[in-house]
């Protein structure tokens, strides 16, 4: 519990949180005490004071019966708030019922109900409200029912979406397996998990109800004279806007401020912090550190170096930091040194959080703000990755550096054809004609074993299987003149037999172009089997570097030994428990 309360407290204590809570408190107090304090004044007519403009005595002026408009706005709070709450109550109550009902109904009825809700959702709230107020007539209750009923579809839909996402969770399945019935699942699991978002949405909904209500009253379809709410006062005020603008602006302010406060509730109470806030918090303290090493490294001309570069990629004292949850910068990679020789296949192995992926991204020059990269040296074939990029360096990186990511579903752009994605880099950087680029792309696809490449070029990624997409990514890297392919868990999302094909293609591409490969994986056997040299990373530090074929013999660091020992392979002794990695990272033989 503690973990969830404290960020909530922090949000309540933020300026927005304080404003929202106190503001809503004031509105609530006005709704309770407004009519008692200003009720008499609001209804006291005075012929002498008719239609006065704004003054100290009457800040919003008076109406045609000489009543003080400010007093009417204050006293009208109760009616406005009550009607909005009533309408919200109707929408929320029936919306919850209609939203949860489909989850326990048989399939046919469920489809019909959700279909109906979807159709109703196509109609704007105000039109539905007009439809209902045509039925119930122009009166306060009629309008409340109208606004309430008009809000049902939206709330029902929200509820249904929320409930079905919760119903799809494994913990609900687990409850069903142990024999908790549909109703029990709703009460024990769905409602507690849906309550937070529902409350927040109810507040946003109340804001909408308030505005719609004001709209209906404004049209003369809501509260009728002599009763008054903010919408009614606005309607009366607008008739005299030339004489006394404050009579219209006053109730307008009341409506907008209350509406705004209710909307802010979602900002304060929503359980998922917005990503904007996370990023913002993290930025403090990061800027000074950025690119500290760039001054030292930008001396030699990049092109000169590139031709005779003995290393493809080099990093010295590489440090990478990201914004943390508490606002400060958290360093995730602590001074990594790494060199990759031309044509070398280097592997980095580590568990989640070891920093292996962001190290690879930094070597490719792809860490963006808010991440901060510092190093004594960070180069790709002579190009200083810490210095601002030039057209020349962009061209070189674009043609010589290739990436293969873990998830083949997201690493290709779903809106562009495979052909376009393959050809664009050489079209841009080499000025190759469209036809020639396409011919190269055809050959690249063929070289990674994709059959019928001509037709495949015109297809979109979703028409490719996972393994084929990874091969297309490799083909993309072969379009230019690759010197380094960074492959970050390229086969983790794939089946083992497909993994084998993809690795075959990667190795063939490597043999063909003599490119270097940086291969990242959590699987030490895979890394050792595929690479020439292996780096073992743990908690942002390279703990050991070894030749792949000496891994079993030369491993010194306890963590490396533990990684080797704790993973079952095809020769593990099945009669004994597996060794486990202890707190210190050392192997602990279970007795």
């Amino acid at each position: 519990m503690a973990a969830q309360i404290s960020p909530m407290r922090a949000r309540l204590a933020s300026p927005v949180g304080v404003t929202t809570v106190t503001g809503l408190g004031v509105v609530l107090l006005l709704a309770v005490f407004g009519p008692i304090l200003w009720g008499t004044q609001a209804e006291a007519t005075s012929v002498a004071d008719r239609l006065l403009g704004a003054s100290w005595q009457h800040p919003f002026g008076t109406d045609e019966l000489g009543r003080d408009v400010l007093a009417r706005v204050l006293a009208g709070t109760r009616t406005s708030v009550l009607l909005a709450l009533g309408a919200t109550g109707i929408a929320v109550a029936l919306g919850i019922v209609l939203g949860l009902l489909p989850t326990v109904l048989p399939r046919v009825l469920r489809r019909m109900l959700t279909g109906l809700i979807d159709i109703l959702l196509a109609f704007p709230w105000l039109l539905l409200a007009l439809f209902f107020s045509a039925i119930w007539g122009a009166s306060a209750t009629g309008a409340m029912l109208a606004v309430g009923f008009a809000g049902i579809p939206a709330f029902a839909r929200l509820n249904y979406t929320l409930a079905s996402s919760i119903m799809g969770r494994d913990y609900v399945r687990a409850a069903r397996i142990v024999g908790v019935g549909p109703l029990g699942v709703l009460v024990r699991h769905v409602l507690p998990n849906a309550a937070g978002p529902l409350l927040v949405n109810a507040a946003v909904h109340a804001s909408g109800a308030l505005l719609s209500f004001a709209g209906l009253s404004f049209l003369g379809l809501g509260v009728q004279s002599p009763e008054y709410d903010w919408g009614r006062l606005l309607r009366e005020g607008i008739a005299r806007i030339y004489v006394n603008p404050m009579a219209a602006i006053g109730p307008g302010i009341a409506i907008v401020v209350t509406g705004l406060l209710l909307t802010l509730v979602s900002d304060v109470f929503a359980t998922t912090p917005r990503r904007g806030a996370l990023i913002r918090n993290g930025l403090r303290g990061l800027r000074p550190a950025r690119r500290a090493g760039s001054m030292r490294a930008a001396s030699a001309s990049p092109l000169e170096l590139a031709d005779e570069a003995a290393v493809v990629s080099s990093a010295r004292e590489l440090r990478i930091a990201f914004p943390g949850a508490d606002g400060g910068a958290v360093e995730r990679v602590h001074g990594v040194d790494l060199e990759i020789a031309p044509g070398e296949v280097v592997g980095i192995v580590g568990e989640s959080g070891s920093g292996k992926s962001i190290t690879a991204m930094a070597l490719a020059g792809l860490i963006e703000q808010p991440g901060a990269v510092t190093a004594d040296e960070l180069r790709f074939r002579g190009v200083d990755l810490l210095a601002p990029s030039s057209p020349v360096s962009k061209r070189q990186l674009g043609l010589e550096l290739a990436m293969v990511f873990q998830d083949p579903l997201t690493s290709l752009n779903p809106a562009l054809t495979i052909g376009r994605q393959l050809t664009e880099a050489v079209e841009v950087h080499e000025g190759v004609s469209r036809a020639e680029a396409r011919e190269r792309a055809r050959q690249a696809l063929a070289s990674v074993g994709i059959p019928d490449p001509e037709r495949r070029l015109g297809q979109y990624p979703h028409e490719f299987s996972g393994g084929m997409r990874q091969r297309a990514m490799i083909a993309m890297g072969l379009m230019g003149s690759p010197r380094l392919i960074v492959a970050d868990e390229p086969t983790t999302a794939l089946d083992v037999t497909v993994q084998r094909q993809v690795l075959q293609n990667l190795r063939r591409a490597q043999a063909l172009t003599r490119t270097a490969v940086l291969f990242i994986s959590h699987d030490i056997a895979l890394v050792a089997g595929f690479c020439d040299r292996v780096l073992v990373m743990k908690d942002g530090v390279v703990v050991e570097q070894l030749a792949a074929d000496r891994l079993l013999v030369d491993a010194q660091h306890p963590y490396t030994k533990a990684l080797i020992a704790c993973v079952p392979d095809m020769t593990s002794d099945r009669t004994r428990p597996l060794p486990v990695i202890g707190e210190t990272g050392a192997v602990r033989r279970a007795s």
């Binding site: 039109l127 049209l219 779903p414």
Partner: protein
């Protein structure tokens, strides 16, 4: 679509039958002579069995006959044909302006604040949008009238027919949705920029123009268009208030006056036309979405 249309027809037909109490009494008042009540009832066809009434309603509908107004005693269809153009022009022009304005604004703000740059601009933009969403269009309209017509005398207060009279209503209707759509474009673009395929695009060191326009834009169009569609139907509804404020002879003023006067045939007619407009707009949005999404079969064929 056919189902929706069916539901709409049933719903409009049902309006008069759902009125609590006797609708005819409600129209004519409690003191009306019994003879008049009976005559009106048979004029409205309310003395026939429900199914027969519905059949007659549907048959008349197919022939374009929406009944006769209780107020003006003119055919409802004629009045609607006369009033609809103003509403369509108002909503259409507002939508075009909102859409054309929102896209560049949303793209520009998203690109300039991406990954936490220029925090103040992000905050200011989201605060402004939050405010514009909460300020209902009728309040905005009032403010605009006060400023441009009352204070500065540069634009007419109300009326219809002169292009100058279109400016304030369109502004009032378009500003809120434009801010909202710009925000959606902004948020969606930021989400797209986080996707792995954008890292792939960046790894090719393409010029920013290509990164944003070729790689990012198509991927956020779907959601922007979906929201745009909702916004457009919302604007159709918004015209009701705007027409009332600017005294525009459209469907909005018609439905408000007929609800007040309990002119049920007219109410049914206006509701039907509104619903048809909403359904047509949804259909158009769906077709556009299908034609731009490579995953739909339409794009392949």
């Amino acid at each position: 679509m056919a189902v929706s249309l069916g539901i709409v027809v049933v719903a409009t037909f049902a309006i008069i039958h759902l009125v609590p109490g006797d609708p005819v009494r409600a129209v004519l008042g409690p003191s009306a002579p019994a003879e008049l009540v009976a005559r009106t009832r048979s004029e409205l066809g309310l003395d026939q069995p429900l199914l027969v009434q519905f059949w007659n309603y549907v048959v008349a509908l197919v022939q374009g006959d929406l009944g006769t107004s209780l107020q003006t005693h003119r055919p409802v269809a004629d009045t609607l044909a006369q009033r609809a153009p103003a509403t369509l022009v108002l909503a259409g022009v507002s939508f075009v302006i909102a859409a054309v304005g929102a896209l560049p604004i949303g793209l520009a703000t998203a690109i300039s604040v991406r990954s936490g740059r220029r925090r103040w601009l992000d905050l200011a933009a989201s605060a402004l949008v939050g405010l514009l969403i909460v300020v209902p269009n009728f309040l905005l309209a009032v403010g605009l009238v006060w400023l441009f017509a009352v204070q500065w005398h540069v634009l007419p207060v109300a009326g219809w027919g002169d292009p100058a009279q279109l400016v304030l209503p369109v502004l009032a209707l378009a500003i809120g949705p434009m801010a909202y759509l710009a925000r959606i474009v902004h948020v969606e673009l930021l989400a797209v920029l986080d996707a792995t395929y954008m890292t792939t695009a960046r790894s090719k060191r393409l010029p920013s123009r290509l990164i944003y326009l070729r790689h990012a834009l198509p991927n956020m169009l779907t959601s922007a268009l979906t929201i745009g569609g909702l916004m457009l139907t919302g604007m159709v509804a918004g015209t009701v208030l705007i027409e009332t404020i600017f005294a525009i002879p459209g469907l909005g003023t018609t439905i408000v006056s007929s609800i007040t006067a309990k002119d049920y045939p007219m109410i049914q007619g206006v509701v039907l036309v509104y619903a048809a407009m909403v359904l047509a707009l949804n259909l158009i949005v769906d077709l556009v979405l299908m034609s731009i999404d490579p995953r739909s079969s339409l794009a392949e064929g």
